[in-house]
């Protein structure tokens, strides 16, 4: 059963890059920066149109790693473990929007360095957006680590059901291709268990 729905924009000033994440994406040591990275970040921030849609749903754990999220019965050992003793979870999708995809495509033909840096930063921004959402939905509850399709044995195919549940096509214009990859590319779906 759907308990609550949230659909909102995340202003770019609320997207705080995690230095460890950023360094991992740019393949540099932590806190490394230079003029070009600063320029790329500024340019990227102008193109970000970050939105998310989240749904709070009931969680029923069945036998043999079966999880009923109200909208879909999922078979996954790793998610089952993640959601053990939890009876509610947020399911969300978030995207940086189409302009970011376009910027990355443009840089691909103009500057390899800017292309690589911007692509890496955009991934780090997507993570930052997820962190922001988690902080928004947390309230005073304890949350389980964020879990996305593709983690552990959770099939990428669940992506389609999550997107449907949070009306991602209509609200965020996230669509799946036949290999279950999302467009815009810089999008994430996730399940976050919420302890009582």
């Amino acid at each position: 059963m759907i308990i609550k729905k949230i659909f909102d924009e995340i202003l770019t000033e609320n997207l705080v890059l995690n230095q460890v994440q950023t360094a991992a994406r740019l393949k540099t040591p932590k806190n490394f920066s230079n003029e070009l990275i600063v320029k790329c970040e500024k340019q990227l921030r102008q193109e970000i149109n970050c939105r998310y849609s989240a749904v709070l749903t009931r969680v029923d754990l069945g036998l043999e790693n079966q999880i009923d999220l109200g909208f879909e019965k999922i078979q996954s050992k790793s998610l089952y473990k993640n959601l053990l003793n939890v009876n509610q979870a947020y399911v969300f999708a978030v995207t940086l929007g189409h302009s970011v995809d376009r910027l990355i495509q443009r840089l691909k033909i103009t500057s390899l360095a800017e292309y690589f840096i911007t692509d890496g930063l955009a991934s780090a921004f997507t993570e930052a957006a997820c962190e922001y959402i988690v902080s928004e939905i947390k309230e005073d509850k304890t949350l389980r680590p964020r879990f996305s399709p593709g983690y552990g044995d959770l099939s990428l195919e669940v992506q389609a059901k999550i997107l449907e549940l949070v009306s991602a096509e209509k609200l965020l214009n996230i669509k799946l291709n036949q290999s279950f990859l999302m467009s815009p590319i810089k999008s994430v779906t996730a399940i976050v268990g919420m302890e009582e």
Partner: protein
């Protein structure tokens, strides 16, 4: 159904309201698609249609929003039963003003290039629905809730090609007033009016309150009837149930405001019920019908915005054209699309409003190439394009796949030309450039040229193409063969402007055959602007031409506070001072990854050193040092790539100065990301690094089938292949590719890389080398070629 077509422009009409949300309240379980009830509970669908008719709706929207053959093998059954429900409802209220609107929603898939649904596949998907619907009796086609301009165009083309019924299109805008793929209302108005639909507007997304500003924009630019069907506000969940935050009374009050702005077809979307529709009708039925008035805006558009040709001078970049440009010619012949795209991006950075695209070369397939270049340009540039070809077939194919309303170059007064071009404009939409010449050639006097413009405009009316969609080119002929020609053209521009025409000139033609052409071109451009010229097809890399443009706007009160002029002037000053102050050696420029400095240092070195020596003494040593530092972990990947960018820029300049074949041109590498994998960043890094070392790279892109690689090996005779894969799921594809290549070419050398691989895995799938990073690929290539005589 002429009757409805006429009614749309003669009176107010009402759509029905929400369906999905209402069906849920009638017991449709969550997770069950609304269209299921067409088959299992048709009486409930009929009752809902009836309730809307009772409330006063004129349209019965079929319950087919989510139906298509991608989702259902038996899509026809869903459509036929939905139409049957609509018909039964209509019979119960045999009112002559009830119409069955066949509903088409988004396909659920993203079109290429951002998704994997091909444009023609999308057209066919919608066409299949429409063919079934037409056979079973509908009155019009409603294309709704689309949030992508390209998908909307696909649906409209499907409707035009498979039915002769009125087409109504409403898009879902976001709170920033744009579709989610970026189009603003003006761009959608340009696109849809060009395509010749019957009514346009907006639906869904949010409540009527937030739609007011968008409706205002529609009222200002649309010549067509405006349709508005908002949600009942924003959804709220109460006890697991979805409700909306705007009541029927509030909804009706807002709809009254919307009707007063000029919207003449009103309805509701998610969360609205028959009660909302009834109240809306009560509130708006006494508002006098405002007949949609023709608007005189000359628009061309891309997938994000429209450019209006009006008082502001418009710059059209002319550099994507092989005429007189050997590098562009070479790029077209060798299918070097990256070069073409770079020329496009650089022109866009210079501030042009529209890009001309001409790829006409006798030795290439212009029909294919034009489509390919347009599709690629529309990934990286959001400017409207001017499709430039003398071949109507090229125009037809390109206009079809173009995402927006293009500028078409061109039609002329020849009957044959007009009969070939205007049907295309009628079908696909477009603003067309009319050259003032006909069977008798180019007239000598300005008046005669204007007469040809009149003739073309009159002929266009046969196809319902309005004068506003014609831009007249009174033609520039060089003054080197006729010294009166500039005066004639300028006079023609003046008369045309006085007669309400929009004008365009390829200004640089005026100086053909003369020395120092820019001096003549700039002076002529200024005169043409003074005479009222709207658009100039010009070289945006010519600073003097931009001088004229910015100065003219500043002098003619077209640049508020001279802001653009000041920004332009301050940009111009920077390179002159920084180059001399901060000149550093090419070696250092590459080490530091400073592209601009590398370019100027290369130019300076070319005056004192042999091109090949520059590569061997400066570029390669610098790259080697950077590569070594990278491997020692004293610099990092972003810095390595900055150096590669600088070296590539330097190499590009040097390459032009040396005869082909004397660098590493014959030392090539074929690169591909394997089939099924769309990640190509690693492969691209390897590519640029190899190129910066001077190797020739045949880049086959991503998601590449083995057959394509085989073909490339055959045609290039290159025996070194680099394969990349990022996803574990595509490793089998890599293994399979290696197997096929080894069978066909026993002497092949294959290096592999990508996040999911390691040395052992590479060995297991029978690769010759594994590159953990891009430098490793360079090292392997160097070793390969030092052991191979080429």
């Amino acid at each position: 159904m002429k009757e409805l077509k006429t009614l749309l422009t003669k009176q107010k009409l009402y759509f029905d309201g929400g369906f999905g949300t209402l069906l849920q309240s009638l017991g449709l379980p969550a997770g069950v698609a609304p269209e299921e009830w067409n088959l299992t509970q048709p009486h409930k669908i009929i009752d809902l249609h009836r309730a809307y008719l009772e409330a006063g709706s004129n349209f019965i929207t079929t319950n087919t929003f989510g139906v298509n053959k991608l989702k259902y093998d038996n899509y026809e059954d869903y459509i036929i039963s939905a139409i049957q429900c609509a018909k039964v409802a209509k019979e119960a209220k045999p009112d002559s003003q009830s119409f069955i609107a066949f509903d088409i929603g988004p396909s659920g898939r993203m079109l290429k290039p951002y998704g994997d649904l091909d444009f023609e596949e999308a057209v066919e998907l919608f066409a299949a629905n429409i063919r079934v619907a037409v056979k079973h009796g509908i009155d019009c086609i409603l294309i709704e809730t689309m949030n992508d301009a390209y998908e909307t165009k696909a649906a409209v083309l499907a409707a035009k090609e498979n039915a002769k019924l009125p087409i109504i299109v409403t898009n879902a805008y976001d709170q920033k007033g744009k579709l989610m793929t970026g189009a603003n209302p003006k761009a959608m108005i340009a696109l849809l009016e060009g395509l010749g639909v019957d009514a346009i507007g907006l639906n869904c997304s949010f409540g009527p309150d937030l739609m007011l500003p968008i409706v205002k924009e529609f009222a200002e630019y649309s010549s067509l009837p405006i349709v508005v069907s908002p949600n009942a506000g924003l959804p709220i969940i109460e006890n697991g149930e979805t409700k909306y935050d705007i009541s029927a009374d509030e909804f009706a009050a807002y709809m009254k405001q919307i009707a007063n702005l000029g919207a003449t077809i009103l309805g509701g979307c998610c969360g609205t019920t028959p009660a909302y529709i009834r109240k809306m009708i009560e509130q708006t039925q006494d508002i006098k019908f405002m007949k949609p008035s023709p608007k005189n805006h000359t628009l061309v558009s891309s997938y994000t915005h429209a450019v209006e040709i009006d008082n502001q001078p418009i710059l059209i970049g002319e550099r994507i054209n092989p005429t007189g440009k050997p590098k562009m010619r070479e790029a077209l012949k060798t299918n070097n699309l990256d070069y073409i795209l770079q020329v496009g991006v650089k022109q866009a950075e210079k501030g042009v409003h529209i890009l001309d695209v001409n790829v006409g070369l006798p030795e290439i397939d212009e029909v294919e190439m034009m489509q390919e270049v347009i599709k690629k340009l529309q990934i990286v540039i959001d400017l409207p394009l001017q499709i430039d070809s003398s071949n109507p077939k090229v125009l037809e194919k390109s206009m079809r796949i173009y995402n927006g309303k293009p500028l078409i170059n061109s039609v002329n007064g020849n009957l044959e030309s007009m009969e070939a071009i205007f049907p295309l404009v009628k079908k696909y939409g477009g603003t067309v450039i009319a050259l003032t010449m006909d069977e008798a050639g180019i007239p000598e006097t300005a008046i005669e040229r204007v007469q040809i413009a009149d003739k073309i405009t009159k002929f266009a009316q046969k196809y319902d193409i309005d004068k506003k969609d014609i831009i007249v080119d009174p033609l520039c002929l060089t003054i080197s063969s006729d010294t009166k020609s500039a005066l004639t053209t300028l006079e023609a521009v003046k008369i045309l402007r006085q007669q309400g025409y929009k004008t365009i000139l390829g200004v640089s033609n005026i100086s053909f055959g003369l020395p120092a052409r820019e001096k003549i071109n700039t002076s002529f451009y200024n005169s043409a602007l003074e005479n009222g010229l709207n658009c100039a097809i010009m070289n945006p890399f010519s600073i003097p031409m931009l001088d004229v443009y910015y100065a003219f706007r500043a002098l003619h009160n077209l640049d508020t506070g001279c802001k653009d002029y000041i920004a332009f002037a301050s940009q111009i000053d920077i390179p002159a001072t920084t180059v001399s102050d901060e000149a550093i050696s090419l070696f250092d420029a590459i080490i530091k990854g400073l592209t601009d400095s590398a370019i100027s240092a290369t130019k300076e070195l070319l005056s004192i050193e042999q091109p090949l020596n520059i590569i061997n003494n400066h570029v390669v040593p610098a790259l080697n040092q950077v590569g070594q530092k990278f491997e020692e972990n004293t610099i990092y990947l972003p810095q390595l790539l900055m150096s590669a960018d600088a070296a590539t820029a330097s190499f590009e300049i040097i390459k032009n100065k040396i005869p082909l074949g004397s660098v590493e041109e014959n030392k090539a590498v074929i690169l591909a990301t394997v089939k099924g994998d769309i990640h190509d960043i690693g492969k691209n890094i390897v590519k640029v690094l190899l190129e910066s070392y001077g190797y020739k790279v045949h880049d086959l892109g991503k998601d590449v089938a083995p057959e394509k690689i085989v073909e490339c090996i055959k045609s290039t005779d290159c025996r070194l292949v680099g394969l990349s894969a990022l996803m574990t799921t595509t490793i089998p594809a890599m293994e399979e590719t290696i197997k096929i290549l080894r069978e066909k070419f026993p002497d092949i050398n294959i290096m592999v890389g990508g996040a999911v691989l390691n040395k052992n895995y590479a060995k297991m799938i029978n690769a010759d080398a594994y590159g953990p990073d891009a430098m490793a690929a360079v090292r392997f290539t160097k070793t390969y070629y030092s052991n191979t005589s080429v």
